[in-house]
């Protein structure tokens, strides 16, 4: 009999009690964060929310003040980087291009960090492949100098030079900042295709929630150095008023009410969280069902999830933006489209509180 532990694959990252402080007074504190192997994780947050700091720590460019980071089950930081070289690749925000040609820039990680077992022709092959992956024609771009590129092209060249070593973890910090539309689309398709092919762990930080939602499977939100929501969750901010023992109510600006049940102490500043899977969409106003909340709203957007073939539906109910996950089959049956009026249905007991 073999020990069953042998069959347990540790997650890519397991972070516990991580703390990092800066003299400016900014503190990053992550109680626990698990990032699974082959996951596409989005980190959303405003500027200064701690995204870049977290990414630098995840890529081992910076070390935390305290806490543990397990990478593939091994504690990082003890033998810094030695076993992780080329396994984690970070594309920093607003990346710096080396003062070299595009070809040399993309080939740089191969030449500098690998043993020189790569022959010239194999390097050329890999550079050309990496450039094609990011949607840049190798023949056209490989001889260009660093200053002969637009912002989006520079970003994609930088991305190509991170992909060339086939890292098992790719960390992207604001990859679409300063990019034109074409580059934003190309970067997304590069990420999707890469994931389909090699299933690396991909971690992306961005303040652009729409782009993130359409690119990532799971989203966490950072606010002032703390994770406020994990999963792709809907946050309904307070104030909530107590109308009865264990029942809270929030009145929306258009007069509709959300009812929620909660045991234990009540504070009116609480935030309620509801998972997208707990929101049901109906095209007609339903009566006689057990759910307390039947709210009128309309669809503002629909995104196809590349990873599990579901549709993320964005709903606006008065001042609230919520998302719901439904299957492509349900879309077909309901015949819903952005701009359409719908009813969002969820139970009063479906909430979690923070």
């Amino acid at each position: 009999m073999r020990d069953s532990k042998h069959y347990n694959i540790p997650p890519k990252y397991h972070i516990k009690e991580l703390k990092k402080s800066y003299p400016t007074g900014f503190n990053l504190y992550i109680q626990e964060l698990v990032i699974n192997r082959g996951e596409v994780l989005g980190i959303q947050g405003e500027n200064g929310s701690g995204k870049s700091t977290l990414l630098k720590i995840l890529s081992l460019l910076e070390s935390p003040d305290s806490g543990t980071i397990l990478i593939d089950g091994v504690e990082a930081g003890k033998e810094k980087n030695s076993f992780l070289n080329n396994k984690i690749s970070i594309l920093p925000q607003n990346p710096y291009l080396l003062k070299r040609t595009v070809f040399e820039q993309v080939a740089f990680p191969l030449k500098k960090t690998h043993k020189s077992r790569d022959t010239k022709s194999s390097i050329k092959k890999r550079v050309y492949r990496a450039l094609s992956e990011v949607g840049l024609k190798p023949e056209k771009y490989s001889k260009r100098k660093w200053y002969e590129l637009s912002g989006g092209e520079a970003q994609r060249v930088a991305l190509a030079s991170r992909l060339i070593t086939s890292p098992s973890t790719i960390i992207l910090d604001e990859p679409t900042t300063g990019c034109d539309k074409e580059s934003i689309v190309k970067i997304k398709s590069t990420i999707t295709r890469l994931w389909e092919k090699e299933k690396p762990t991909i971690i992306i930080a961005s303040h652009d929630i729409y782009w993130l939602r359409s690119t990532c499977r799971r989203l966490i939100r950072l606010h002032e150095g703390k994770i406020i929501t994990s999963e792709m969750e809907n946050v309904i901010p307070g104030p909530w008023e107590v109308i009865k023992e264990g029942i809270l109510r929030k009145v929306l600006s258009d007069g509709q009410c959300i009812y929620a049940s909660k045991n234990g102490p009540l504070e009116n500043t609480l935030k309620a969280i509801i998972k997208p899977n707990d929101i049901v969409i109906s095209t007609k106003e339903v009566k006689n069902i057990s759910a307390q909340n039947i709210l009128k709203g309309f669809i503002t957007g629909m995104y196809h999830d590349n990873y599990d073939n579901t549709i993320k539906v964005e709903i606006r109910i008065s001042e609230l933006n919520l998302i719901s996950f439904i299957t492509t089959r349900a879309i077909d049956q309901l015949k819903i489209y952005p701009g359409m009026e719908i009813y969002a249905i969820f139970k009063a007991t479906a909430f979690e509180w923070v």
């Binding site: 890529s59 460019l61 980087n81 070289n85 080329n86 690749s89 970070i90 920093p92 607003n94 990346p95 710096y96 080396l98 003062k99 740089f108 990680p109 500098k112 960090t113």
Partner: protein, 229 residues
Amino acid sequence: MSFIIHGIAQAFILLFRGDPETFSAIFTTLKATTSSICLSSIIGLPVGFVIGFLDFPGRKQLKVLFDTLLSLPTVVVGLVVYGLLSKNGPFGGYGLIYSLPAIIIAQTILILPIVIALTSSAIENADERMYIALKSYGLKGIKFFLATIYEIRIMIIMAIITAWARAFSEVGASIIVGGNIKWKTRTITTAIALEATRGNFARAIALGVVLLAIALLINILLHIYKKRV
């Protein structure tokens, strides 16, 4: 006035005839400056990198020291090196005084602060993102140093050219430690000093023209290189 024109004309005659005495001075100058530039770069680039990149106690004081040494008078350097290398000095046993190596040592000491000060400020003022990028490629130690130097190569070349210009044009140190010995330690500048005091203006001006021509050539090459990168 006419002696100036005569001197310029003489310069071309000396150059195109391949006057051995003139060419000996040119080669001595080139040998001395090339060697001192190589030595000061080998020492100065890593030292400048460490001062510019790392943060350690005494770093600021070190920076002030090297900035002060930028204005080191050439004759003072000559004097110190003379004291060290002369027969009764601590290194007198090597018999280096009045030789080309003595000039090289003096020039290296003279220009080392230039290489160090300019390199460290180039390192300090370089794009922060460059360091993040190089680190993110997993570079460490000597590879990191070399890649950084390559990235800021324009600034480094400017530092080296500035240092070279100082070595190339100095006369005080070379004359004290080299002794201005014909065929051996007579450089262009020491020759000019000698010819001028002898009243041999034509030759002095000719050598001056050569000095300027070489400086011009090097700066043209630098300009072409800067355009290409």
